[in-house]
């Protein structure tokens, strides 16, 4: 859309009105930029301050004697519940959960999208609609049955462990969370790929079929090489969502050293024993935020596109 101030109006009201107009617009935009940056700025400077400086100084002041100590403490020493070994273990828990969950759900989404656009069958719209609706349910409505099922699987895992000496990952919190995130992430990944493949020329597939290419050959040789953008979008979207999840994490891995990062951070911050070390808390929060922030900085364009696609179903 073009600029709104038309040349005709500029001429009649003179340059000064236009200048004032611009100043007001830039002023407002800058004010809002401050509003959005403030909490991050405060978190960041606080994480480099000493406790003394925090208690006696100004929240917005830059650190007088910057120290990286709180970051080390958050990473390796701070107390999460009763264990005081920092958040590093929980950080790795999240990594171990996120990587397989993202890969599996993305790959399944790609296959589903491929079938739902290029190998349509009667009722494909209904199947898609049912999977799509699943994206929007409040997860509270499946939380309890899933907890029950995961509990049974865990008990079965213990039985297996006793019988065979190996539990095959049954009852392992990370495995559980990967499973949960794959199941409830499928709707979105399928949506992304379906919408992307919708626009992919079907003639190409037909031609390949005539040449005798099979279902998987077409997928591997034709669809996959042309899916890079949507893979990036989906991986980023899933990564952000799963890394940031708190509800499933707290319900199925809410205690002990199996907690993912979000739950651990919440515990660090809400620990009420002893002196609250705000600088360490802020450093921990920054560490929890960094992976998604880095993804956003590196691939912001794809990040926004994913959000839009997830937001605008149609």
């Amino acid at each position: 859309m073009s600029a709104v101030t038309s040349p005709a109006r500029q001429a009649s009201s003179g340059m000064s009105a236009r200048t004032i107009n611009r100043i007001v617009i830039y002023g407002l935009l800058a004010l809002f930029a401050i509003f959005y940056l403030m909490p991050l700025f405060v978190m960041l400077v606080t994480s480099f301050k000493t406790m003394d400086e925090i208690q006696n100084g100004n929240m917005l002041a830059l650190p007088q004697s910057p120290t990286i100590e709180p970051w080390f403490k958050a990473w390796g020493q701070t107390c999460v519940g009763l264990t005081c070994a920092g958040i590093k273990g929980y950080f790795w828990n999240s990594i171990k959960m996120v990587v397989p969950a993202v890969l599996i759900s993305t790959l399944l989404g790609a296959l589903n999208g491929y079938v739902l656009t290029k190998w349509r069958f009667r009722g494909h719209t209904l199947v898609f609609a049912m999977m799509l609706f699943a994206c929007f349910i409040p997860f509270q409505s499946v939380l309890l049955p899933m907890a029950t099922i995961l509990g049974s699987i865990g008990r079965f895992g213990v039985t297996l462990q006793n019988a065979t000496g190996f539990n095959f990952g049954l009852g392992n919190s990370t495995v559980n969370l990967v499973f949960v995130h794959v199941v409830y992430g499928l709707g979105f990944t399928t949506l992304f790929f379906r919408n992307y493949y919708e626009a992919f020329p079907t003639e190409l597939i037909k031609a390949a079929q005539v040449d005798g290419a099979s279902f998987f050959q077409i997928f591997r040789r034709i669809m996959l090489p042309n899916s890079m953008p949507i893979f990036v979008v989906t991986v980023i979207y899933q990564f952000t969502n799963i890394w940031n999840d708190f509800l499933f994490a707290s319900a199925y891995a809410g205690t002990g050293d199996v907690m993912p990062m979000t739950v651990a951070l919440n515990n660090v911050v809400n620990t009420s024993t002893g002196v609250v070390e705000y600088n360490v808390n802020m450093a921990a929060a920054m560490i929890a935020a960094l992976p998604t922030l880095i993804v956003y900085v590196v691939a912001g364009r794809y990040f926004v596109r994913g959000l839009m696609a997830g937001a605008v179903k149609g």
């Binding site: 909490p39 609706f133 699943a134 349910i137 509270q140 049955p145 929060a285």
Partner: protein, 319 residues
């Protein structure tokens, strides 16, 4: 924006009519369905099956552990009674009142602020490439991190109030985060901070999609900037309003983490939303049936919003 639109070019696998049509080619025909089947089955069982299971539980008198004897709608009766128990407020009354306040303000402010910022950014701004990511980055943060950051910022002893005191405005008083009547508004502030940039991006994409010719024509007709936006641009953005509303309503009903991280539930549970109510009653207060009933109510609310929307989006569009 609308990509669900159906391209009805159907690709039917060639059916081989020859007598030798082997098992292999039959399998090739079935393969797409076999590939889709696990995902679809998982959706049926873990989404729809589990929803039915939750509905079932809500009609039992499950406490700490699930019980499977149907005992009628007692959980719903209790929720119904609590709905009107305002003095002293029951947890459920607090939760749904908060949902109303939070939902209304969060959606309203995000829409207004998002549209406002998008219009400002659309005035050929130098440095748009810098500003846009600044407005949008909170969306990449988890609710937990957002909550932690704002908890600090709004804390009377450490944050904004303290800062302004040091700058000499000693009468400034801002303790909403510790005040049971106002704590829900701090959740609104943090929520708006997180989502409004994204809504801005949606509106900006919508604005950029408007045909420049229409704008020019209106300007030639002598429309003022204000008229231009009110009469022409904003009505053209209707689909974006709808999408943004759906996104926000969906986020609002699901909000759980933010309340936990920002307020730990607020003084005496005064910041609870229905999602917090569900979690607390199910896992902490050993009232599983009541928790399930509240989950069912949340689901029904969301369904009432989402299903008509999905239906209109997925419907075969006339072309």
């Amino acid at each position: 924006m609308s990509t669900v639109a159906e391209t009805q070019i159907k690709l039917t696998p060639e059916h081989d009519a020859r007598p030798g049509a082997s098992v292999r080619s039959r399998l090739q025909d079935l393969l797409p369905k076999i590939v889709l089947a696990p995902s679809f089955a998982a959706t049926i069982v873990f989404v729809y099956g589990f929803i039915l299971w939750t509905i079932y539980l809500s009609f039992t008198n499950s406490k700490t552990f699930p019980s499977y004897d149907i005992t009628g709608a007692r959980a719903y009766q209790r929720l119904w009674r609590w709905t009107f128990e305002s003095d002293p407020p029951s947890s459920w009354y607090t939760s749904i009142t908060n949902m109303g306040i939070f939902g209304f303000l969060y959606i309203g402010i995000c829409l207004a602020l998002g549209l406002f910022l998008a219009i400002l950014l659309d005035q050929k701004i130098r440095g748009e490439g810098v500003l846009r990511p600044i407005y949008l980055y909170p969306m990449a943060l988890s609710f937990i991190v957002t909550g932690v950051a704002w908890k600090w910022f709004l804390d009377p002893g450490l944050g904004l109030e303290q800062t302004l005191h040091q700058w000499g405005w000693t009468s400034f008083h801002f303790d909403w985060i510790k005040n049971k009547d106002f704590v829900i508004y701090t959740v609104v502030i943090a929520g708006v901070w997180q989502a409004s940039g994204f809504i801005m991006a949606m509106f900006l994409a919508g604005l950029r999609g408007i045909d420049g010719e229409i704008m020019k024509a209106a300007q030639i007709d002598g429309a003022t900037t204000f008229q231009l936006y009110r009469r022409i641009v904003i009505p053209l953005l209707r689909p974006v309003f709808l999408s943004a509303f759906i996104v926000l309503a969906h986020l609002a009903i699901k909000s759980y983490d933010l309340v936990v991280a920002l307020t730990s539930g607020g003084p005496g549970g005064s910041a609870w939303l229905p999602s917090n109510f569900m979690y607390e009653f199910t896992f902490k207060r050993n009232e599983m049936a009541v928790g399930s009933a509240s989950a069912v109510i949340m689901l029904m609310t969301l369904t009432a919003i989402i299903v008509p929307y999905l239906y209109s989006e997925l419907r075969e569009k006339p072309r």
